[in-house]
């Protein structure tokens, strides 16, 4: 009896000693969960394309990492924070998901983020815009991957002023997001030597911008900033074209515009619009190669910056697992924050202590139809904005993780 106990102890001891050498993969499978908007207003920007992007990343690893299988689960967040919280909790707790990517709008992403912090598992906030994610709400298990409201303001605001757009007029959606965007961009514009000559607030989800457009035209501002999003942005750009705003010499600055928005607007209406994005499919060889493979699976659609973000986030995560031989969230996170990344789509990037991924972003202008050489040839590069300039400095976000270190 005693002998067998000793033997058992020996075996256990050997097991423990042997552990660091063998892969430490929880549940013997590396599971990625894509929880995003599949059906409603953001599904063009992320949606099914995001799932395809993550699949592409997994296939590049041959479906295996650290000798274990990689699995993918997906779900529609239905734009509800309730669903984000319950599904992420269930994925982490019951289904053994190691990392979640997503998760739709800001409310649902912040909900997932809190669950990730509680369960101590990885969360890649690819979708949301709220800069609070790496500000006062930050936690140690969340990486904010692509962009945030500060970048939109800094990028478009300062870049447009530096490119000569000195006087601004704002068309602002009358709710918290619009107000915040107007306030942030105004601050950036004034700090860079520009001036704000006026603004007008329009109701959320409005279809008639005519009176607002007339005021914007009458202001004689060089730049009309669109501090709104989604359908409101699309409608205001359409009606600006009808009123001949761009032809009259004023420029439109879209603060939250994706390449799919330009696609649905067409170049005729969107031409001359300036916007900031972290990724454009036609920027370099690597992005073109990725876009080509993506397009083959998505009926010729080109990836948005968010979909590219899903791909790189999944890939980057799997690379860490491969290098460390473990999917332990603490170790993966420590390595991500200590080693700068250099990957073809977003270029050189660091992940800061507060969870912010910092990379270069770009100011683009939408081409005129005559300049466009083919389908999806929409942007021309105006300026590359270095990451340190575009993102909010870490000490200004109010993230508690930063104070500690």
């Amino acid at each position: 009896m005693r002998k067998s106990l000793a033997a058992a102890a020996l075996v256990c001891g050997m097991g423990v000693a042997a552990l660091p050498a063998a892969a430490q993969i929880s549940g013997d499978v590396v599971k990625l969960g894509v929880l995003t908007d599949m059906s409603s207003l953001y599904s063009d920007i992320n949606g099914p394309g995001a799932v395809v992007a993550v699949q592409m990343a997994i296939e590049e690893f041959g479906g295996m990492v650290a000798g274990k299988k990689i699995e993918l689960v997906q779900a529609d967040v239905q734009n509800k924070a309730d669903i984000a919280a319950t599904i992420s909790g269930r994925w982490y707790d019951v289904e053994g998901v190691d990392a979640i990517l997503g998760t739709g709008g800001s409310a649902s992403s912040i909900a997932t983020m809190r669950v990730a912090g509680e369960k101590k598992r990885m969360f890649f906030a690819v979708d949301p815009a709220s800069s609070d994610i790496t500000g006062k709400l930050c936690n140690a298990y969340t990486v904010h991957w692509v962009y945030d409201t500060v970048v939109l303001a800094n990028g478009t605001g300062s870049a447009v002023v530096k490119a000569g757009g000195k006087s601004w007029f704002f068309l602002t959606a009358d709710y918290a997001f619009g107000h915040a965007l107007e306030r942030d961009v105004s601050a950036v514009v004034t700090a860079n030597g520009g001036k704000v000559v006026g603004s007008v607030r329009h109701p959320l989800n409005t279809s008639d911008f005519s009176s607002f457009m007339l005021q914007a035209q009458a202001s004689k501002a060089q730049v009309i900033g669109l501090a709104n999003a989604g359908g409101d942005t699309i409608n205001s750009i359409k009606q600006a074209a009808e009123f001949g705003v761009v032809k009259g010499g004023q420029k439109l600055a879209g603060l939250l515009v994706f390449v799919t928005d330009v696609h649905s607007l067409t170049l005729k209406l969107a031409q001359g619009l300036q916007l900031t994005e972290a990724f454009y499919w036609d920027r370099n060889d690597a992005s073109r190669a990725f876009a080509k493979r993506f397009g083959e699976r998505m009926n010729g659609k080109m990836p948005t910056s968010i979909q590219a973000g899903f791909y790189t986030a999944a890939k980057h995560y799997l690379e860490q697992v491969k290098a460390l031989n473990t999917d332990d969230a603490d170790k993966v996170m420590a390595r991500m924050k200590s080693t700068p990344a250099d990957e073809p789509l977003f270029g050189k990037a660091v992940i800061r202590q507060d969870g912010r991924k910092v990379h270069d972003v770009y100011l683009f202008e939408v081409k005129a139809p005559s300049e466009s050489k083919g389908p999806w040839d929409y942007y021309k590069l105006i300026r590359t904005i270095p990451g340190e300039e575009a993102f909010r400095p870490m000490d200004q976000g109010g993230c508690p993780l930063v104070k500690k270190s």
Partner: protein, 320 residues
């Protein structure tokens, strides 16, 4: 009659046993969310099923109570039980104001007035700073219940607290329906003129029912905010008002257990069909159409009919 009673008691005990054992089988947070929606649907059903008032704005009580809870507990540091109490009173007050105006009209006009109020509340929440707009009021702390007596950090412990709150809500609805007050409500639902001619002040009864329903919806909303630790705009949208109608319809309007079953069906679909991606809403819509066309009385209503129609109740009849 006695047979029906024993059957009902057996079902009740079985349901209670299932409710007690559930968190060891299913994911507790999902169960708690479903329980809160079940209570919300019961509150709605109290109004539609027993007073005949079709409200299209119940999300305002549910959602506002969630915000009240979040604000009192997070910003003012109140204990959760006081937060819930404040939310229930807040929802009842909101119900008193909107109800007093809405019950002056009937049928579709009543529904439209409630819808208008809930849209006003929605736009208020979009703009008001304390709701934090699209980000939602996030990170409401989970404090121990009853001054530290019941620790609720663990999801299963939380589940039993929520179960107790929700059962209290169910009991309140049951008590209201089976009281003389509930009988008068039913009389008003069947024939308002006759109830008035019998000397009942129909408007007062309707207003009281409206306030009670708002308060219970508020109890559900604040409990949900306590469980999920946030309150967001989703809970005050018109879509949420529609969803609770759907829950009541699927389960069976005018039955006690109907809304509970309906809520569980809808919430389960939203959570477990989510992997079907863009098809969730289509499936939800298809089920709605099938139920409206084929099972007019909802799941529980139809089963109830089936049991009642049986000439001699067999032991196999309780498999529902």
């Amino acid at each position: 009659m006695t047979n029906n009673h024993t059957l009902r008691n057996i079902l009740l005990v079985a349901a209670l046993a299932v409710a007690l054992a559930a968190p060891w089988v299913a994911y507790p947070v999902f169960l708690m969310t479903a329980l809160c929606f079940a209570l919300f649907a019961c509150a709605f059903n109290l109004l539609l099923g027993f007073a005949g008032l079709m409200s299209f704005g119940h999300a305002m009580f549910f959602g506002m109570a969630a915000y009240f809870f979040g604000h009192t507990v997070k910003e003012w540091g109140w204990r959760p039980e006081f937060g819930i109490l404040a939310s229930v009173l807040g929802a009842a007050a909101l119900g008193a104001v909107t109800g007093a105006l809405a019950i002056r009209r009937q049928g579709i006009y009543f529904a439209m007035i409630t819808l208008a109020f809930s849209q006003m509340i929605y736009f208020f929440c979009v703009q008001a700073p304390f709701t934090h707009g699209e980000d939602g009021l996030q990170g409401i702390p989970r404090r121990a219940f009853l001054g530290g007596l019941i620790e609720v950090k663990d999801d299963r412990a939380m589940y039993y607290v929520v179960l107790a709150i929700v059962l209290f809500g169910f009991a309140a609805v049951y008590r209201i329906i089976h009281s003389p007050f509930g009988q008068v409500l039913k009389a008003i639902r069947e024939n308002e003129q006759r109830a008035i001619s019998l000397g009942y002040n129909a408007n007062l009864y309707k207003l009281l029912a409206f306030i009670l329903s708002a308060a219970i919806a508020g109890l559900a909303g604040s409990t949900k905010a306590m469980v999920l630790q946030f309150a967001t705009l989703t809970d005050v949208t018109a879509a949420m008002s529609g969803e609770v109608v759907l829950m009541a319809l699927v389960g069976g309007i005018g039955t006690l257990a109907g809304p509970v079953v309906g809520a569980f069906v809808i919430i389960t679909m939203q959570n477990y069909l989510a992997a079907a991606g863009e098809w969730v809403l289509v499936i939800q819509g298809a089920i709605f159409v099938v139920i409206v066309l084929a099972f007019r009385k909802g799941i529980v209503g139809e089963i109830g009919d089936l049991v009642r129609r049986r000439p001699k109740p067999g032991p196999a009849g309780s498999s529902a």
